[in-house]
């Protein structure tokens, strides 16, 4: 690896002793010898297996649940329903005051997506748990469902989640997260060209090689040790503490070794119910998603729709940008209100645009709840923005890299959400990319700097 120390040479204060040095990963010796302990490598005598009964419907009222046959199945130790969960309605971001609580650990009266957890079955073997789960009888009254974000926002659409009362997340700013900067209509009036385009994406599954799960062991002192592959240890511990109405000091979480996460293991999904099962049975409990559950049940990246309208001058300056973003949360919030909010701050892109108007909606539909995935809230936006930049360049007959130099943000520029730009290195990255990709740009762009204005 080549380290270019000539960039920022006059403002650089560190010696960069580590960056650019090859360093072995600390966990690799365990990986190559098969000694790394993943959660599922813990095995306890008498461990029970948990299997979920899941909703076969996208949206339905639950008339009744009959677990009597399942309870009689050989090997079954316990069957859990909503009434066994101390604080059944939760939302993970409540820890940072983003409510309302809108999701059930086990469905209570209603299911809002196909695959939603309804009843948990605990048995001596995985097979017995599976067979017993098939014997749970749930009587459903199927309700109309909505799968499209724009349909969901129309008046008269089926209401997905009563805890919200409408099919969008209500921010303190109203039905969407808003950014207003300058006068976008004046910007469009002044522009030489206007380009409005719409971009959309489907949900994406992380598909980690190790599926989501945990193993819980009750300790002698009324504490529970939870071996988990969560990517969010303390987040999960605190939410489990709320759901179980149990002091955090009773919970001991062991983790940090994750067989692939990519954001797919930050929801608090398996741990609370497994800890509850261990508490109610007094036995170790293992709850691991099957591969099918990992693909169908675990949260994907949200589907998004991004509509971008830009006003651009012939010389390449973007003078106005209006963006409407839609994030499909599926049936529950999880991390999506935060993802949509990140999008609002991000949609101007790494560009300084004097007039900006952004609305981002977090929309509820009867789809699998979405959540975090690598750069959620911004990755799809970046795809949309950069395709849009190429289209703008084509529209005005300009080199696409030069268009980006003209609009690149630089230190001291005010961003649309009122954060001054600091430590931007976009110009320098593009200069290096121009050389590396052998995509030459005019000399004046190669002389630009992120922090020396006028240079």
């Amino acid at each position: 690896m080549e380290l270019r120390k000539d960039y920022f040479a006059d403002v650089r204060t560190d010696g960069l002793n580590e960056i650019g040095q090859p360093r072995p990963r600390l966990d690799s010796p365990g990986h190559v010898t098969g000694k790394t302990a993943y959660f599922a490598d813990r095995n306890f005598p008498g461990m029970l297996h948990l299997k979920m009964v899941r909703s076969p419907h996208h949206h339905a009222r639950i008339r009744s649940i009959d677990t009597s046959e399942a309870e009689k199945h050989p090997g079954v130790v316990k069957v859990l329903t909503a009434r066994d969960v101390p604080h059944n309605v939760y939302t993970i971001l409540i820890l940072i005051q983003i409510g309302p609580e809108d999701e059930t650990v086990l469905a209570d009266g209603k299911v809002r997506w196909k695959g939603e957890a309804v009843v948990a079955v605990l048995a001596e073997t995985e097979r017995a748990a599976q067979e017993a789960a098939a014997k749970v009888k749930v009587d459903y009254e199927v309700l109309p469902a909505v799968f499209d974000m724009e349909e969901a926002l129309k008046p008269g659409a089926p209401l997905v989640n009563e805890y919200h009362g409408q099919n969008y997340y209500l921010y303190d700013s109203g039905e969407c997260r808003k950014v207003r900067f300058g006068d976008v209509e004046a910007g469009f009036a002044q522009a030489d060209h206007i380009l409005e385009q719409s971009y959309q994406s489907s949900p994406i599954e992380h598909a980690p090689t190790e599926t989501t799960g945990c193993v819980v062991a009750p300790e002698g002192n009324d504490r529970f040790t939870c071996y988990t592959n969560t990517q969010a240890m303390f987040f999960t511990l605190d939410n489990a503490s709320i759901i179980l109405q149990m002091q955090g000091s009773k919970l001991h979480f062991v983790g940090g070794t994750v067989g692939g996460g990519f954001g797919g293991k930050v929801d608090v999904i398996v741990e609370p119910i497994a800890i509850l099962a261990a508490k109610l049975t007094g036995r170790p409990v293992c709850f691991i998603y099957s591969r099918e559950e990992e693909m169908q049940i675990s949260s994907p990246r949200a589907a998004e729709k991004v509509v971008i309208k830009d006003g651009v001058m012939k010389d390449g300056r973007i003078v106005a940008r209006k963006v409407t973003g839609y994030t499909d949360a599926g049936a529950y919030s999880r991390h999506s209100p935060y993802g949509a909010q990140k999008g609002a701050a991000h949609y101007p892109g790494p560009y300084t645009i004097p007039n900006v108007w952004i609305d981002t909606y977090c929309v509820y539909t009867n789809r699998t709840p979405s959540s975090a995935m690598r750069g959620f809230g911004v990755t799809i936006g970046d795809f949309a923005l950069e395709v849009q930049m190429d289209k703008l360049a084509r529209l005005i007959g300009m080199d696409p890299l030069e268009l980006r130099f003209i609009n690149a943000y630089r230190d001291g520029d005010m961003k649309a959400h009122r954060q001054p730009t600091e430590g931007a290195a976009l110009i320098e990255c593009m200069q290096e990319a121009s050389r590396a990709a052998n995509w030459p740009v005019a000399e004046k762009y190669m002389a630009m700097s992120s922090y020396r204005k006028g240079a």
Binding site: D27, T36, T209, G259
Partner: protein, 160 residues
Amino acid sequence: MAKVPVQFTLNGSEKAEFVESGTTLLNALRDKIGDTSPKGGCHQGTCGACSVIIDGELRLSCLTLAETCGGANIKTTAGLAEGGVLHPLQRAFLDGFATQCGFCTPGMIMAAKVLLDRTPNPSREDVVEALSGNVCRCTGYEPIIQAVLSAARANSQNVA
């Protein structure tokens, strides 16, 4: 459920266990014998994380019934290092940054070992073909392919 006796050699030592009929070799190794180096990524023969070597052949232990392994000679990644010295494949994976989360690694190393045992100087295509049953979601495969090629080079230098 009826239990059946199974006896086999695992990484050079004799093992004897009673397992429920229908138990997979993967579960027998992990839950009964305590060798957790083969991983269960799918339990349906699609990810390769459970790969082991049975009588010199690469096998998916999640699709192999333990009761069919009587008398077999089974090798797993846990038994690869001899006397605390890493096998060249392990060394190459370590040095070549070919592991990230590590969940696919034991299976990858098994698949690569069967390849190098048969084809000491494989082409890149040979390596890709040999690893084609093993899923890695982290590395993008390239460091793994390079690690196998470099282990092969290290092996042939040792022989020469």
